[in-house]
């Protein structure tokens, strides 16, 4: 062979060797590590971040989640169909008129979303509890108490909506498990014991940089609310759809009566000395309401906001033309019933939460017109919710908008789950059930007379009259804060037609007592063969 062909051979050998060696080495390795996400949690900062996402999930409970549904299915709020606007396959009126079934529009849109959102909070907490339990640290007990307390709150909301629900799956599993539901009573006991166990390890208060995190006060407030509803929440069956479901006669942990347990939990908050009623009342809902002394447990919102970290309460209710800066203006949806608006005395400072009559711009203060150029006047009566004019319905202004906020869902007003005033009203209600009308009236008057001194609570009320007065007070105090559905169910009035005039197509549903629990949404039944539909659906 010539030297020429030898050198050719050498060149050829090298040329082919390089790629082939490359191939031999890398040819079968298929392991990829994500570059922009973690697959496990290790450091303290990562643990805090993991817990932060459990808090962040709280946002999902408000807008068309648990909180919105608590009002939308009652006389507090209605979303009329305005032309083609807000028709949305009838989902809004489906919920308001309580025509929901396991697969009606409202169920599939909102109830299914609420189910998933609440369980997502539970799953995120489970994931973190696993991590924290394995990594001892100085703050381990407190962190676990915080996570378990939050998880109990998610379960509270779940059982309020659906009754029984699948129980805890404490470990994160990438093989989803089809677990059967626990009974409502089992969930009640679980929530109760988790909160009681968490309280000693939770701080009474956080330094300012911990504002928003769970405290002893928050856990006690959830407990107080759990106990006052014990006549409903602890019962697997036999909840009355037409009469008051009292806490008396229900025995809870420590062999206490539920009414006494409610008083004790409320007292733990009231007597902590950390909270006081806010004056004026509107201080609780203003754009800087984070500093209100009444807050016990809130969703913290911020205007740092195209990231969706703010609230949208003003936007869902105000008219398009009332705010023109930012994201196309408000949505002109949510309103209240005339009957509900009329419950508010002219002398009660709380009437200020409503917008009726001529509407004004939040930017200029000038009167505004509707989109056809007519002066925009909010009218209380909604003649036909199926074809409403854009001006009908009194609007919420409980959480006044910040015109300079960057986006419509970027309002900085924190949303309160629990305020101190509720502790007084829970205490009043429980005392009334214990037969102590005098003490009950004192607690009720403490709240009412501060808000409406011109028209104080009368003396000498019977137990039944006090019950009515407390329910009315809860409406005045908490309209738009997601309390109404639970209250009406406890009072056996949820299914009523609410108004004498049968307005807005709502029928009297009292012959359908199964509606006091929401249906388990069809997609959940599909995903978990061991789930049972609530009776009656």
């Amino acid at each position: 062979m010539t030297t020429f062909t030898q050198s050719v051979r050498r060149v050829g050998r090298v040329a082919l060797l390089v790629p082939l060696l490359f191939a031999a080495q890398t040819c079968t390795n298929l392991t990829e590590v994500p570059h922009d996400a973690l697959t496990s949690i290790k450091s303290d900062a990562e643990v805090l971040a993991g817990m932060t996402s459990v808090y962040a999930q709280l946002r999902s409970t408000e807008w068309v989640g648990y909180i919105t549904l608590q009002d939308l299915t009652t006389d507090v709020s209605i979303v009329p169909t305005r032309g083609s606007d807000w028709y949305d396959n009838g989902q809004w009126l489906d919920l308001h008129r309580q025509t929901y079934t396991s697969n009606s529009s409202g169920t599939l849109a909102f109830l299914n979303g609420a189910w998933n959102d609440l369980f997502s909070g539970i799953a995120k907490a489970n994931l973190m509890i696993d991590v924290v339990e394995k990594t001892p640290s100085a703050t381990q007990a407190r962190t676990l108490a915080e996570l378990k307390g939050l998880r109990a709150w998610y379960y509270y909301m779940l059982q309020d909506m659906f009754g029984g629900a699948p129980p805890l799956v404490s470990k994160y599993s990438d093989k989803p498990q089809q677990v059967a539901s626990s009974t409502r009573d089992e969930l009640f006991k679980f929530i109760e014991s988790e909160l009681i166990a968490a309280i000693p390890d939770l701080p009474a208060s956080w330094p300012p940089d911990g504002y928003g995190r769970l405290t002893k006060g928050a856990a006690n407030a959830i407990l107080a609310s759990l106990y006052i509803n014990a006549g409903v929440f602890s019962k697997n069956s036999g909840v009355s759809a037409s009469s008051y479901n009292s806490c008396s006669g229900v025995t809870v942990a420590g062999n206490k009566s539920a009414c006494q347990a409610a008083i004790d939990a409320a007292n733990a908050v009231i007597n902590s000395g950390l909270y006081s009623l806010a004056v004026p009342w509107s201080r609780n809902f203003s754009q800087d309401n984070g500093t209100s002394p009444e807050n016990i447990f809130v969703i913290v919102y911020t205007k740092e906001s195209s990231q969706g970290l703010g609230g949208n309460w003003p936007f869902r209710t105000l008219h398009y033309n009332q705010l023109t800066s930012g994201w196309g203006g408000p949505w002109n949806g949510f309103a209240t019933l005339a009957e509900t608006y009329q419950q508010f005395d002219a002398t009660d400072e709380r009437r200020g939460m409503w917008l009726a009559g001529q509407a004004f711009s939040f930017e200029t203060g000038q009167p505004v017109n509707d989109r056809t150029g007519k002066p925009l006047v909010f009218t209380a009566i909604i003649p036909d919710a199926n074809k409403a004019d854009e001006a009908v319905g009194v609007r919420f202004n409980k959480f006044p908008p910040l015109p300079s906020a960057a986006t419509g869902n970027g309002m900085p007003n924190d949303f309160p789950y629990f305020r101190l005033s509720e502790m007084y009203l829970i205490k009043a209600e429980a005392l009334n059930e214990q037969g102590n009308q005098g003490a009950a009236r004192t607690e009720l008057a403490f709240v009412h007379n501060l808000r409406n001194p011109a028209n104080p609570i009368a003396g000498g009320l019977s137990q039944a009259q006090l019950r009515d007065a407390i329910l009315k007070e809860r409406l005045l105090e908490f309209a738009g804060e997601g309390k109404r559905r639970s209250d009406l169910i406890r009072y056996g009035r949820y299914l009523n037609k609410w108004s004498t005039t049968m307005l807005n197509g709502k029928e009297d549903m009292s012959s359908k007592p199964h509606l006091i629990l929401f249906p388990v949404p069809q997609p959940q039944l599909a995903a978990n063969a061991n789930l049972k539909q609530n009776p009656g659906y």
């Binding site: 050719v8 994500p34 570059h35 709280l58 807000w86 195209s306 970290l309 007519k374 997609p523």
Partner: protein, 1058 residues
């Protein structure tokens, strides 16, 4: 994997032991000859002559002559091939130092059956292919204004359905080869350019959306490739053909081969065209007079307040007309080729510009390509380089996929009040004639409702003010070396890179109402996609017996995909002067935070194909591919994809020698194979914890990073596999005067990748799982014949047709509860959100779905309340079940979910393409008709905008609403009323060309032509075009919502060759 490593080492060993075979120089000779038309005996230019088994070749000159030098001595098969003619092969013996002659007579024919077809990892003789493979003559298909290669498939290949998303220049295309058989994973085919599989992802970063979340649909990733550089396109349809591409072959494979030049003939070519396009149809919005009259009438009837009349504007503007413009398209191609006997090259340069038929948008492409080949070591080593660099400048119209609440351009075109002017005149700005949308503004500024950020915006202003451009750069290159190890063994190494780098620059100035709400909005996003590919092939073709042939291809392929991106936005500018060029000038730095990401994935494969033929009559092909993907779960990453096919050329049998019934050619093919679909996002198998804005919580009012579980990992995730059986017949009658193909197939997709609800508690609601089966069955045919075949006149007819039926046969057991309750056959059928699709867009349409995925029905099945009519009160009435609330006499005005019924599907029953190619002396003509028959399309646009209730909000509507009896308070309700028949027949293209006599122009040939695209459309559909795609949920199809109108284009062009 142990198996893989062994094969690879074996390959290395084989290559090394073979190296000494590099040999010394061989003696060579020359072949020359002449090619004429068999009928007219006129000389044929532009005929490609190739010497089989070598890289030698030439192209005939205008007098039909050719000369090929440096042909190795020996006996060769010389092939003469020209578009529009059947290929002819002649056996020529070359002796060293002398010239042999080869003359050819080519018969005119449209699609030549006897040809070399590019298949996966090599080429095959057409007659040896036993799978279902279609080829496209790129020259015949490249007529009219073609922005990208995929358009060339339209109407020319049976079994390929191609639906452009809309009429925007460069708009994306939905390609379905033998139908879509996946619900969650991709249904797009695999594109392979010069042997390198492309990553079929959008090159540009996603749009920001107009203050809403509805992004535009992706553009076609092939926009960066010049159609004029394409020599041929091969479509691999059945599994026996695509299985060689294994995990990526399930949706078919499109092989694109770019032009090369053999023989070192020097040639130059210049082509140019100018086109003008216009929207050929109007939706018809109410004009100023109609709207004014309607409002006046409603005011006097007491249904609108008097202010509705007094707030009307002074103008009469047809916003639809104002938005349209004639769109110009220009194209220049310059190519030259040449070289020596050892080195050949072709270089080309392309400039293409296409303006939209709507104001202010379009596409420009600059592209250069160099294809070069070099023979070394006396032809034993052939080196090849294909290199393309291109820049596509996209100028987007401010549109969104589903319009959104506040909408893009077309939403506003439909609703913006026609009594408002486009611009303010001086009189409108002040004084008694001051108009609200103008007062206080300068004369000549755009009319806008109110001053701030309202939902409804002047669409002309929007088109002109919003800037949204995306320059895309792409480098696509392959380098290959083919080494002849022995006479019958070659090794080929290919390294390919597909790198794209695009940015998207969006600016909404303060002067526009969209920008005004943010104080100006600027965004720049970047995206880099990198796809590196390495292939090692060994081809072995022993000749062990006179009448038997065997070819074995074995190889290894490795692909690494590395994509990353970056996105930053800013608001709050003091001026519009900076545009997107100075983000730091903004103030609202907190709003959407900058984001970045990086995603990698890998594929590794070993494959082999063996083809065996006996006596040119019996052919057997076996394929096996062992494929691994990093996207799937460990333990499920590797899978084997086998295929087997056989064909029998019956006409070669002795009993067919006298051509009974005129049968001149008959071949029966049958094949079976398995393909995969792994086109899911990477990392789906893992639990991922992401820090993103949704997990941030303002603890103590300080934003605190949250780690959110972004998905429920599925460690069992595996391939979606499709099995396909194909039986086909190739036929020719009367000496191949009539030829064609018939294929029948069944494709079954198993382990469908489907997003299913996860039982709670779970960190997120849904996850990807392997559930369910889908079946596609179909018949495809093609037929072609010269209607006229004379000396100087010919007319060839080609027909392709497809009928396909798609059916979901299972959605798995995990959804037992749906089935348990009698979900599938129940009466009424309850809902399962997992299977809702085709969400309805528009105001008041939230949580409304038009389609449903269910067992026993095809994908794209419409599910709707049945519209009965409008009652005396102007309310719509629908069919209802007696058990439904509010159902009286079988009618209701508020249908419940239980009242819905299946109302057809979006899939056509039958599609047809008919094309003709004619020649009359120096004149030529071609045309293509396409039709699709059966199937439905949901006119979401009409649902939302053919609604007079828009007037209660001072908004316009389609004038068709004036003639319907609906009351002004009646909301838009989704029902069968808006689901229309989709059938259409379209004259896709008509081209007439003339070859200039050589006495007028110097050079080899010069052709001038006129061409028209989309000239005629026959359809009953009331929207712009029934061929439309809007992405609205899982596997949705056949939905039209406020889309960009399609254009009719007239083109004049010329091509000269020297």
């Amino acid at each position: 994997m142990a198996v893989g490593r062994t094969i690879s080492i074996a390959a290395v060993a084989l290559v090394f032991t073979s190296l000494p075979q590099l040999a010394a120089q061989q003696p060579t000779g020359t072949i020359s000859g002449r090619v004429v038309d068999s009928a007219s005996t006129q000389p044929l230019g532009n005929v490609t002559i190739a010497v089989g088994g070598t890289s030698r070749g030439a192209i005939t000159t205008t007098d039909g002559a050719f000369t090929i030098t440096a042909v190795p001595a020996g006996t060769h098969e010389v092939r003469a091939r020209r578009i529009g003619y059947a290929t002819r092969v002649s056996t020529v013996t070359v002796t060293a130092g002398s010239t042999s002659t080869a003359n050819f007579m080519l018969p005119a024919q449209a699609a030549a059956l006897s040809e070399i077809v590019v298949t996966g990892y090599g080429t095959q003789r057409r007659e040896a292919i036993s799978g279902s493979v279609a080829t496209i003559d790129a020259e015949a298909a490249n007529v009219g204004v073609i922005a990208n290669a995929t358009q060339m498939l339209q109407g020319r290949v049976a079994g390929v359905q191609l639906t452009g998303n809309n009429g925007e220049p460069g708009a994306g295309v939905q390609i379905r080869i033998r139908g879509g058989t996946s619900i969650s994973a991709s249904n797009e085919p695999l594109y392979v350019v010069d042997g390198v599989p492309l990553q079929n992802d959008a090159i540009s970063p996603d749009a920001a959306g107009i203050a809403d979340i509805n992004k535009q649909l992706n553009r076609n990733p092939l926009n960066s490739i010049n159609p004029n550089d394409i020599e041929s396109i091969t479509v691999l349809k059945d599994a026996s053909a695509t299985a060689i591409y294994g995990s990526r072959g399930a949706n078919g494979v499109v092989l694109i081969t770019t032009k090369k030049i053999g023989g070192g003939t020097s040639q130059m070519e210049y082509e140019t065209y100018v086109g003008v396009a216009n929207a050929y149809k109007e939706l018809g919005v109410a004009d100023g007079a109609q709207y004014r009259a309607f409002v006046t009438q409603q005011v006097s009837a007491g249904k609108l307040p008097a202010t509705a009349q007094s707030s009307l504007g002074p103008a009469n503007t047809n916003w639809e007309k104002e938005l349209m413009q004639p769109g110009l398209a220009t194209n220049h191609n310059f190519a030259f080729s040449g070289g020596s006997t050892q080195t050949q090259y072709r270089a080309s340069l392309n400039y293409f510009k296409q303006q939209g038929v709507v104001l202010a948008n379009g596409l420009q492409r600059y592209q250069g390509r160099l294809n070069a080949a070099h023979d070394a070591f006396t032809g034993r080593l052939r080196l090849g380089l294909n290199m393309m660099a291109s820049r596509v400048q996209n100028d987007f119209a401010p549109i969104e996929n589903t319009g959104g609440f506040r909408g893009g351009l077309f939403t506003n075109m439909l609703i913006f009040n026609p009594t408002f002017p486009i611009k303010c005149t001086a009189a409108m700005t002040s004084g008694t004639t001051a108009t609200p949308g103008c007062s206080g503004k300068e004369a000549g500024s755009y009319y806008e409702i109110g001053s701030g950020a309202l939902d409804v915006r002047n669409p002309v202003a929007m088109a002109n003010q919003i800037e949204d451009v995306s320059p895309e750069n792409r480098i696509l290159g392959t380098f290959s070396g083919t080494l002849g190890l022995r006479d019958n063994l070659t090794a080929q190494t290919t390294v390919g890179i597909d790198y794209t780098d695009a940015s998207r620059r969006t600016f909404a100035p303060r002067a526009s109402p969209i920008g005004a709400q943010f104080g100006g909005y600027a965004r720049q996003a970047e995206r880099q996609l990198q796809n590196a590919n390495f292939q090692q092939l060994l081809t072995y073709s022993p000749r062990f017996a006179a009448n038997q042939e065997l070819e074995v291809v074995g190889g290894y392929e490795y692909t690494k995909i590395d994509n990353h991106g970056f996105d930053a936005q800013m608001q709050g500018f003091i001026t519009d002067a900076f545009g997107v060029n100075n983000l730091a000038a903004g103030t609202q730095s907190s709003s959407p935070v900058p984001t970045s990401y990086r995603v990698e994935s890998r594929l590794a494969s070993f494959f082999s194909r063996a083809s065996y033929g006996i006596a040119g009559r019996y052919f057997l092909t076996g394929v096996v591919r062992y494929d691994g993907s990093s996207r799937l779960a460990e333990g499920h990453q590797w899978q084997t994809f086998p295929a087997l096919s056989a064909s029998w050329r019956i006409s070669q049998e002795s009993f067919m020698a006298d051509k009974p019934f005129g049968v001149s050619m008959l071949a029966l093919r049958a094949g079976w194979g398995k393909q995969g679909n792994q086109a899911v996002a990477p990392y789906q198998t893992k639990l991922l914890l992401r820090a993103d804005p949704g997990a941030i919580y303002p603890i103590g009012n300080a934003l605190t990073t949250g780690l959110r579980a972004a998905q429920v990992g599925n460690p069992d995730l595996r391939w979606e596999t499709a099995e396909q059986v194909n039986v086909g017949l190739d036929y020719g009658f009367l000496n191949d005067r009539f030829t064609g193909v018939i294929d029948v197939y069944q494709k079954t997709t198993k382990d469908l990748l489907l997003e299913v609800d996860v039982p709670q508690p779970a960190v997120v609601q849904k996850r990807l799982d392997n559930i369910g089966n889908i079946r596609n069955r179909g018949v495809e045919f093609s037929f072609n014949t010269p209607l006229l075949n004379r000396a100087t006149r010919s007319l060839i007819l080609e027909i392709v047709g497809t009928a396909e039926r798609n059916k979901i046969t299972s959605l798995g057991d995990a959804l037992a509860a749906c089935k348990k309750d009698g979900w599938w056959k129940a009466d009424p059928i309850p809902q399962c959100t997992t299977y809702l699709s085709g969400f309805v867009s528009g105001q008041g349409q939230s949580n409304q779905y038009s389609q449903r995925i269910m067992v026993g029905e095809p994908i794209g099945t419409f599910y709707a309340p049945i519209f009965l009519g409008v009652n005396a009160q102007g309310k719509q009435e629908f069919k209802c079940r007696a058990s439904s609330a509010g159902c009286v006499g079988g009618k209701t005005t508020d249908p419940t979910d239980a009242d819905r019924e299946v109302f057809g599907s979006a899939n056509p029953d039958f599609t047809l393409g008919v094309s003709n190619n004619g020649r009359w002396g120096s004149w030529d003509a071609s045309w293509l008709w396409r039709g699709e028959f059966g199937g439905k399309v949901f006119n979401n646009t009409a649902l939302v905008y053919q609604t007079k209730s828009n007037a209660t909000q001072g908004r316009n509507f389609l004038k068709a609403a004036l003639n319907d009896p609906d009351d002004i308070t009646e909301p838009a309700k989704y029902s069968s009323r808006w689901i229309e028949d989709r059938s259409f027949v379209r004259l896709q293209n008509l081209t007439i060309g003339y070859e200039l006599p050589s006495r007028f122009v110097r050079g080899r040939s010069t052709r001038v032509y006129v061409s028209g695209d989309n000239l005629l459309l026959f359809t009953g559909y009331s929207g712009y075009d029934p061929e439309v795609f809007v992405s609205s949920g899982l596997a949705s199809r056949g939905i039209d919502y406020a889309t960009y109108p399609r254009a009719r284009t007239f083109t004049v062009g010329a091509r000269a060759q020297w």
